[in-house]
């Protein structure tokens, strides 16, 4: 089987995002990156497929250099190759520009049988990158995939739709986003690999390595633009009440009435 490519994203650690009240932009300095939690099931699926079909797993990420430790961690999980797509020109990319860079990098890694991604990131949260990348590559995409296996050279995918579960047959290569609920067990890194990875560095690719059209990158290549971000005001400063259950319930009912949930 041709190789499997997994795309992962470094996302700010929850709690570390702040809005600059003056400029209405996100303060990104001092942001600590973590692996997008929804990418773990995608990696787990890739590594299970690797065991079953004895194929290679290549992990790529577009992002700043502080994604490197995340990629090294993924190497310790069992990936065969780790690649960082990093260039100042990528800054400010929306999903179209991101998908363009990923599609170009994936193309360069051809032939491949499968590209796996997380369902959505926990920062941008659009869930658009997987189908959009597939569209740019001109190959089929499936979202919310729970299970994937090969039968007579074709992928059989189980995916969750709003109306039920579908079993789909499709010829490789495809892009699939993996359901966050796909696995009960997700492997930890192996000790041996954790030691090995100390000396392992990801391959770093820049614009010049990928034959990219500069017009389609970063802010310039991003038709959607965030013009303002603001924090939603919190209605009251958290009121903490102690007392007897009777007193507390009385207060609760008062609030529920105030919110129009109980009418009397």
């Amino acid at each position: 089987m041709e190789k499997i490519i997994v795309c992962i994203k470094g996302v700010p650690k929850p709690g570390s995002i702040k809005v600059d009240p003056e400029t209405h932009t996100l303060k990104r300095e001092n942001m600590e990156l973590i692996l997008n939690p929804n990418d773990r099931p995608a990696l787990e699926m890739a590594l299970r497929l690797k065991n079953t079909y004895n194929t290679e797993v290549v992990v790529i990420s577009m992002g700043p250099p502080n994604v490197i430790p995340l990629l090294k961690y993924i190497y310790a999980l069992g990936a065969d190759q780790i690649i960082l797509l990093s260039d100042r020109a990528f800054a400010g990319s929306d999903t179209l520009a991101t998908s363009y860079v990923l599609a170009k990098a994936i193309e360069k890694l051809s032939p491949f049988s499968l590209v796996l991604m997380g369902l959505k990131s926990i920062d941008g949260e659009t869930a658009q990158v997987p189908p959009e990348t597939a569209s740019l590559l001109g190959i089929p995409s499936l979202t919310n995939v729970k299970d994937l296996f090969m039968e007579r050279g074709k992928w059989i995918a189980i995916r969750e739709m709003d109306y039920g579960e579908e079993e789909i047959e499709v010829t490789p290569p495809i892009v699939a986003s993996v359901s966050p609920l796909a696995f009960d067990y997700i492997r930890p890194p192996s000790l041996k690999r954790l030691l090995e990875v100390k000396t392992k560095e990801p391959l770093i690719c820049q614009v010049k390595d990928l034959n990219l059209d500069p017009q389609r990158l970063g802010l310039q290549g991003s038709p959607t633009q965030v013009i303002e971000v603001f924090e939603k005001k919190i209605e009251t400063k958290g009121l903490v009440l102690e007392g007897s259950p009777e007193e507390l319930v009385e207060k609760l009912i008062e609030i529920l009435k105030d919110k129009g949930l109980i009418k009397f």
Binding site: K18, T95, L96, T126, M161, Y163, T224, E242, V249
Partner: protein
């Protein structure tokens, strides 16, 4: 039956809304998105058109809804191959319609189908796509779209510089409204040489047994965690939900304990919710849970521990035994 119209005769510069049909039924989310789009269309002096891809006319069960809808026109593409949703073929059909009718905007409900389809269409057209928009306004002739983003109560306002302006619109963000005039219905005729082919083959379909929970769009949620101690106490949440017109949510451990089905899990591995009121009984407020509910408008926490993270982010926290408070609340409410 209706006016048949060729691709090249389609009217231009309209606002298109994707009308999601599945096995003959129009998803109500497609009617929801017409509400804000109608206002936008009127402000910009454009027509609002519902575009639907279907296998055959015979199966359609929702004629009444379509006729009452806010759309000015409904465009159908009808072909046996469109019976099932298959993203590659559906994309090609929609891209053709866009190429010929050059719409000003194209909007999708953020259903699973909408979220699989819209990015493919946007990618093929190389235009921008805003996700999960829950507010739209026109300012200086420009559509400004707002969407909540992860945690921290951060709302982002976006514009899209490419045409058509595209977005998926959050489920439940808008109520369904009806129009005064019946839309005119047209069937788009595709050229003879169009290839109705998909690389996807649906081998099996298992309809969901349970009715899908309305958690993600619920206006009120009563959720429970391990602090409720056992399944019996947890089940009382359903009584409360009934009284408040709420949906029941849960943390991951209690779903795994089997107190309630997994569809009710809120958080990173479950559903993201944004109710007006969220009440958490015996929930610690681990990050994996709170990322799924912290954009709720008003959060109430019931916990014995003053230091629990959910107590910290709550608008109102009641420090006490969750089971007792739940029981007493039910008693008082059913009086």
């Amino acid at each position: 039956m209706f006016e048949k119209i060729k691709l090249e005769d389609l009217s231009k510069e309209n606002i298109l809304a994707y009308g999601e049909f599945y096995k003959g039924e129009l998803n109500s989310s497609s009617l929801e998105i017409l509400s804000p789009l109608k206002e936008i269309a009127q402000t910009l002096n454009k027509k609002l058109i519902l575009v639907s891809l279907i296998g055959s006319l015979e199966n359609i069960k929702d004629w009444e809804e379509i006729k009452k809808s806010l759309a000015d026109e409904v465009w159908f593409v009808i072909n046996e191959e469109l019976k099932d949703f298959r993203e590659d073929l559906y994309t090609e059909v929609l891209v053709k319609i866009v190429k010929f009718s050059q719409p000003y905007g194209f909007f999708f409900p953020a259903t699973k189908i909408g979220m699989s389809l819209a990015p493919r269409v946007a990618g093929a057209l190389q235009v921008g796509l805003c996700a999960h928009v829950n507010n739209l306004e026109v300012k200086d002739n420009q559509i400004i779209m707002a969407r909540p983003t992860y945690g921290e109560n951060i709302i982002a306002k976006l514009i899209s510089k490419s045409i058509p302006i595209m977005a998926t619109i959050s489920l439940g963000a808008f109520g369904i409204k009806y129009g005064e005039k019946e839309p005119s219905i047209k069937e788009i005729i595709f050229p003879e040489d169009f290839v109705w082919k998909s690389k996807l083959k649906i081998r099996r379909f298992a309809p969901s047994k349970k009715k899908p929970t309305k958690l993600s769009t619920a206006k009120v949620i009563v959720a429970g965690g391990r602090g409720l101690k056992n399944k019996e106490t947890f089940q009382k949440l359903f009584e409360l939900a009934n009284l408040l017109g709420a949906e029941v949510g849960a943390t991951r451990p209690v779903c795994y304990e089997g107190w309630v089905e997994e569809e009710r899990m809120i958080g990173i591995s479950g559903v993201t919710v944004r109710p007006k009121v969220y009440i958490g009984f015996g929930i610690s407020g681990a990050l994996q849970h709170t990322v799924g509910m912290e954009n709720s408008e008003f959060i109430i926490a019931v916990n014995t521990d003053k230091e629990a993270p959910l107590v910290k982010i709550a608008n109102l926290a009641l420090i006490g035994d969750a089971g007792k408070i739940l029981e007493l609340l039910l008693k008082n409410l059913s009086k």
